[in-house]
């Protein structure tokens, strides 16, 4: 435990330092409450079901269902665990309906009931038996009930060096199963669909992890007959009850972005929102729309997307343009104790967060955990929403902005890019363009800012860094970086550009344009502080720490490999996951990071072992 605390402390405090001293942090608004777990229970949470009587159902990877009394910790902090059911096979989803639990085992959708009401289940009934080949990666998630009482289940692909669905039926698919066990295949192209949910309008969204055919994490809206991009399960599109026909041969595998492929492949569905890899998580899991009517967050109607590897909850705001979902994502709350797999709202509008990291690794160092995310009612200065406009975007804020700060061009850093679509694992960002602001219009209530850009690109991810935007109290945003996926450009009026809305460019000494750096010659040694700043800027610290093993190896361990700076540069641009077989999560290519920065980081990394050796010499007596 001491170990964990120290890591979290370093991690959080390093982020805090980046802002003004005394600046507010996430925990000043969004509190994390930890539910104690008896020490002999391996609560590796795969599913959570809120019960209407105030208790909480939790299912585990070891096949149990626990019912927890006093989960809201109202009068006392203590909770009480009763084992309701046991012996099932890796339960990665749980629901509670009309007095019964419904859960997914690897090979079965099961209804579990307590017919004699002694508090322990005595009837295990299959709603549906799934085929399995026996591959370890054939996970089954769900069910999620819809309004009609049908159950939705997602089926993970097998992993044999790549995602493969052909060994057993409907792997890689979202399916609907009626209470009497009729299966309807609904949408395909799923790779690792650990989290999905139905929004207020009845539409289904699922979160995908980076992997083969998946350049980065993302959330996709699935309509009937959609193909979400990974062809591993396409064998089953040949079945008579498949809602569409498609074969692997019809899918371009040339590294062009997914939207290019979608022009040729009719059913290929583009994500509603891309979650840029390593920045907005590394393994998106559950999704939940805030339907608590203002209890859970200051953002009713928006979505909360969890990340397994980075132990955090992100926020996603959606709009519909030309009938297509799109929107933005932004960080919300980090620092959970283990890898988040499940989110469910409690009766009081707080969110239960269920965790397990076995076999995956996560920034939260516990093997498993159960926490609750509670909003304390205070509203931070945050981006509220980003909406597309014909010539740019309109950003709304939770508080009135300092007009002077938002009018400055230097308050923003904007660019757009996209990922490759190919059978390889992950993708670097490609086709990166820096964007210039042409006009800024602030609404009368000072809560909305419309930015007109020199260029907006359909289908691209638009990165917003609002580093200089302040509220009237002079505070910076709690989260300054957001990513908008522009599937559709709306029609409508454009802003007439004139002097009154043109951005203020202050006469500051512009950073001298660096001449092209020769990577071979750069051996600048930088201080620890400079290194940390670079590591943070390029999001390396999301997965690596100096001494501790996080998602990836520690910098010290990397330095022990004795790579040359140039080798490190090559590996950052084109990682070789086989170099680190003990790490479950592969590194994404980071070729967008300037070579001069990578080389600085590399020389700092390589200095670590030398430094240690020197320290050892000094401390020899």
């Amino acid at each position: 435990m001491k170990h964990t605390v120290s890591i979290l402390f370093i991690f959080i405090s390093s982020l805090a330092w980046a802002q003004n001293p005394g600046a507010k942090t996430e925990k000043d608004f969004y509190e994390i409450k930890t539910l104690p777990i008896p020490q002999d229970i391996y609560l590796e949470i795969g599913g959570i079901a809120t019960m209407p009587d105030g208790r909480l159902g939790v299912s585990t990877r070891r096949g149990e269902i626990w019912i927890i009394d006093n989960p809201y910790q109202k009068e006392s902090h203590q909770t009480y665990y009763r084992r309701f059911a046991s012996g099932m096979h890796e339960i990665l989803g749980l629901a509670y309906k009309d007095g019964a639990f419904y859960c997914s085992q690897r090979g079965e959708l099961t209804k579990v009931t307590d017919t004699d009401r002694d508090g322990v289940a005595d009837r295990y009934e299959p709603i549906y038996q799934f085929q399995l080949s026996g591959n370890y990666h054939e996970y089954t998630y769900g069910p999620v009930f819809d309004k009609n009482g049908d159950m939705w289940v997602t089926l993970n692909l097998a992993w044999v060096g790549f995602g493969e669905g052909k060994f057993s039926k409907w792997r890689g698919w979202l399916v609907k199963i009626s209470p009497d066990g009729k299966l309807e295949p609904f949408a395909a192209g799923l790779r690792s669909p650990a989290g999905y949910s139905i929004n207020q309008e009845g539409d289904i969204f699922y979160g995908e992890n980076q992997g083969d055919w998946v350049g980065s994490g993302r959330v996709t809206h699935l309509a009937k007959g959609d193909f979400a991009g990974n062809p591993g399960g396409l064998k089953w599109a040949k079945e008579p009850n498949s809602p569409f026909k498609l074969t692997l041969d019809e899918i371009p595998d040339n590294g062009s972005p997914m939207f290019e492929a979608a022009k040729k492949v009719k059913n290929l569905k583009l994500p509603a929102v891309w979650f840029p890899h390593a920045i907005m998580g590394i393994s998106t899991s559950d999704i939940l729309q805030d339907t608590t009517g203002g209890k859970f967050s200051p953002f009713p109607g928006q979505y909360f997307v969890a990340d397994q590897g980075q132990s955090k909850v992100m926020r996603m705001g959606l709009e519909k343009v030309n009938g297509v979902y799109q929107g933005f994502c932004i960080n919300y709350r980090e620092g959970f104790q283990s890898g988040i797999l499940r989110e469910r709202f409690g009766l009081d509008g707080s969110m239960f967060v269920g965790m397990t990291s076995r076999g995956w690794g996560s920034t939260g160092k516990d093997d498993f955990g159960l926490q609750r995310l509670v909003w304390n009612g205070l509203t931070p200065f945050e981006i509220n929403m980003i909406e597309a406009r014909p010539d740019g975007f309109e950003i709304s804020f939770t508080q009135a902005v300092d007009v002077n700060s938002v009018k400055k061009a230097a308050s923003y850093a904007l660019r757009s890019y996209i990922y490759k679509y190919h059978h390889q694992y992950g993708s670097p960002i490609v086709d990166v363009k820096d964007l210039a602001i042409k006009g800024i219009v602030v609404s009368a209530d000072k809560k909305k800012v419309r930015v007109v850009l020199d260029q907006i690109r359909q289908y691209f991810i638009h990165e917003f860094k609002l580093t200089g935007v302040k509220n009237e109290a002079g505070e910076l945003l709690l989260h300054e970086t957001a990513y908008y996926t522009l599937n559709q450009i709306p029609a409508g009026d454009k802003v007439l550009l004139n002097a009154s809305n043109s951005p203020i460019v202050e006469k500051v000494a512009l950073e001298k344009k660096m001449s092209k750096v020769d990577p071979a010659k750069t051996t600048t040694l930088i201080s620890d502080n400079e290194a940390m700043a670079l590591l943070k800027k390029h999001t390396c610290v999301a997965c690596h720490a100096r001494e501790e093993k996080l998602i990836g190896p520690s910098f010290t361990d990397i330095s022990k490999r004795k790579y040359s700076d140039k080798q490190i540069l090559a590996l950052v641009y084109k990682p070789n996951p086989k170099n680190w077989p003990d790490f479950a999560t592969e590194m994404a290519p980071m070729s967008h990071v300037p070579a001069k920065d990578v080389l600085k980081i590399a020389s700092w990394i390589n200095g670590l072992t030398q430094k240690k050796a020197n320290d050892a010499l000094i401390n020899r007596d």
């Binding site: 391996y42 990877r61 070891r62 096949g63 046991s86 012996g87 099932m88 096979h89 085992q105 690897r106 090979g107 079965e108 099961t110 017919t115 322990v120 289940a121 005595d122 009837r123 295990y124 009934e125 299959p126 038996q129 399995l132 080949s133 026996g134 591959n135 370890y136 060096g161 076995r358 076999g359 995956w360 490999r561 070789n576 086989k578 170099n579 680190w580 077989p581 479950a584």
Partner: protein, 600 residues
């Protein structure tokens, strides 16, 4: 992912043995008349004596001349030091015997079947205590090692024990410098002792002092016992050694292990093969060339280990070659004449993960395995602690993947009972896969990390069954699988803490209920059904399919060469000869239910 391969490719250790023929008693030193050669024995698990068939192949001890005496102990002519001994034995109820290594150190054979209390040194598979009168009355017994668990089968079944014994060592003056060690005792597939050292002889020793050699002796003074398949290996033959060993070490990319005139970075003479010579994590080539001194013409088995690419050549002939992980055991045998032979071992790795492990062992029958590499060249396997599911206070059930006869079954439930009997059941077939007794379930593979194969395994004395649904419409052949649309799994309900499985089969609702039998020594399975209205189904119950069926008495058969019993109340069985040469035992059933017991 690497771990996946590591665990799948566990080395299976085979060993060559010599067999003591049981056509007559010539292998034994003055056996008493109680010892005879017979064709077969059988017994009910409640019988204290055997039914005997005349012929050859089985060694039997029977009381013939009044009381059993010490002279009824059976001394082998085989005088041994280090030995690996494997044999089958059968005990009638209550029997007591023992195997004395070198006539001095006893492993106990006892009918410990059904014993629920803590195992003691005097139980089957125990290493019997030492004895010294000088320690004072009531205190004479000391040492003695209980087996790790009760791995004893029912009386009347053939059991197998394997003993790997290291004889004591003596200096030139005859002074003992190292105690005898039971390196392994494996009873019915369960490791019950490992590396247990004994400070001296068992009380019942034939001799009054320890020595380098002695005869195997079987205790024959306590009652009837039968043996067959007596096999052993001793280790007195010389084996190969390395001489004039040279190494060359290169860095760079070497496809197909060819140096191609590249200049070596290092070269020189050495005495042992070692991967420690390598300086880089990848892209190297290390070649050892030397003389293999072969003492006697014979077949020699070469067992190599490496992470990456390797090739072993003897006299220019490629024996072992390929890409492997260091835990893979790659083996090839070659007949070598006495004298010097050329050995060449090449090793390279073109990836940076994994260790630079290199190992080469040679095994000759009649000689211990020898390593030609430095000890540090081959690292230890990963240390993974056991995750055990226990069934101590109440019945426990746990689903998982499980291997059955080499096939991975995906919808398996394991049921453990506090009475100590357990079984695995295929929910896709309505069939028992295996039954076992002792500790319940090893879930390490499933619950440690998350790679392949995600299975769990019995931790006790296991009997594998055929894994087929046992009911067949009368007169029809038993299908390999019931997944043909006529059969539907309906889940299970929990009754007295144990699952009762429910199925719909040909419009009949079935219940399959297994409970421990009254003595807690086996499972009683009851299949019951509610026929659809107006129909009166007639089924056959398949009791088992086996190469041979032994009818012990009415309502009791033993299957798979007396490996387990099936017992039932009711009509006589019919035995059908199947096309595959096996025999299938059926009983016709009518009414609403049928029961039978599996006992092992």
């Amino acid at each position: 992912m690497k771990k996946l391969f590591l665990l799948l490719l566990m080395p299976c250790v085979s060993w060559a043995q010599q067999e003591i023929p049981l056509n007559d008693l010539r292998a034994f030193d003055q056996p008493s008349t109680n010892w005879t050669i017979e064709q077969a024995v059988k017994a009910n698990y409640t019988d204290t004596s055997f039914q005997v068939s005349l012929g050859k192949g089985v060694l039997l001890n029977t009381l013939r001349n009044g009381k059993y005496k010490r002279s009824d102990d059976l001394k082998f002519k085989l005088n041994h030091g280090d030995i690996r001994l494997i044999l089958d034995f059968m005990l009638p109820k209550g029997a007591n015997s023992g195997i004395y290594l070198q006539g001095r150190y006893e492993v106990q054979l006892l009918d410990s079947y059904g014993k629920k209390q803590r195992m003691k040194f005097g139980d089957c598979g125990g290493i019997y205590e030492r004895w010294n009168d000088a320690r004072g009355k009531g205190n004479e017994g000391y040492e003695g090692y209980a087996p790790r668990q009760n791995a004893c089968k029912a009386p009347g079944l053939w059991q197998t024990i394997e003993i790997d014994f290291q004889a004591p060592r003596f200096d030139a003056n005859g002074k003992k410098i190292k105690n005898a060690i039971f390196k392994k005792v494996i009873l019915n597939g369960i490791l019950v002792q490992e590396n247990m050292e004994v400070s001296g002889m068992t009380r019942g020793s034939l001799f009054d002092k320890e020595a380098a050699l002695g005869p195997i002796t079987i205790q024959g003074d306590h009652g009837p016992i039968a043996f067959k398949n007596l096999r052993y290996e001793t280790y007195e033959r010389p084996t190969v050694s390395l001489g004039d060993l040279n190494y060359t070490y290169y860095e760079g990319v070497f496809t197909n292990l060819q140096a191609n005139n590249a200049p070596p970075l290092l070269k020189g003479k050495t005495t042992e093969i070692t991967g420690k010579t390598i300086k880089v994590q990848k892209d190297f080539l290390l070649v050892y060339e030397g003389e293999l001194n072969v003492p006697e013409s014979d077949t020699y088995e070469f067992i190599s280990h490496w992470t990456g690419k390797g090739r072993l050549e003897v006299d220019g002939q490629v024996l072992n070659q390929g890409d492997y992980w260091y835990s893979d055991r790659v083996s090839h045998s070659k007949v070598l004449s006495a004298g010097k032979h050329q050995l060449k071992l090449s090793f390279s790795k073109d990836f940076s993960w994994g260790n630079r492990a290199l190992g080469l062992f040679v095994k000759r029958i009649g000689s211990h395995l020898v390593a030609l590499h430095a000890r540090t060249s081959l690292p230890d396997p990963e240390a993974v602690g056991l995750i055990e599911v226990k069934a101590e206070a109440e019945p426990v059930y746990q689903r998982s993947f499980a291997f059955h006869q080499g096939v991975k079954k995906t919808h398996v439930i394991h049921v453990g009972d506090p009475s100590g009997v357990h079984y695995s059941y295929d929910l896709n077939q309505g069939a028992i896969l295996q039954v076992w007794r002792g500790k319940f379930l090893n879930a390490t593979q499933m619950w440690e990390n998350r790679g392949e194969p995600q299975t769990s395994e019995p931790l006790g004395l296991n009997q594998v069954l055929d894994g087929k649904f046992p009911l067949v419409t009368s007169g029809q052949a038993q299908p390999d699988s019931v997944n043909n649309g006529q059969w539907m799994y309906k889940g299970y309900r929990i009754q007295h803490g144990r699952p009762v499985f429910l199925y719909q089969w040909n419009n009949v609702m079935l219940e399959d209920n297994l409970v421990p039998n009254s003595t807690g020594t086996g499972w009683t399975r009851t299949i019951s059904w509610k026929p659809a209205q107006g129909t009166k189904p007639t089924f056959d119950l398949v009791l088992g399919t086996s190469a041979s069926v032994v009818k012990v008495q009415p309502g009791l058969i033993s299957l798979n060469e007396n490996q387990y019993f099936i017992q039932w109340n009711g009509g006589p069985e019919t035995v059908q000869n199947l096309a595959n040469g096996k025999q299938q035992v059926r009983i016709p059933v009518e009414g609403n239910s049928i029961s039978y017991q599996v006992i092992w």
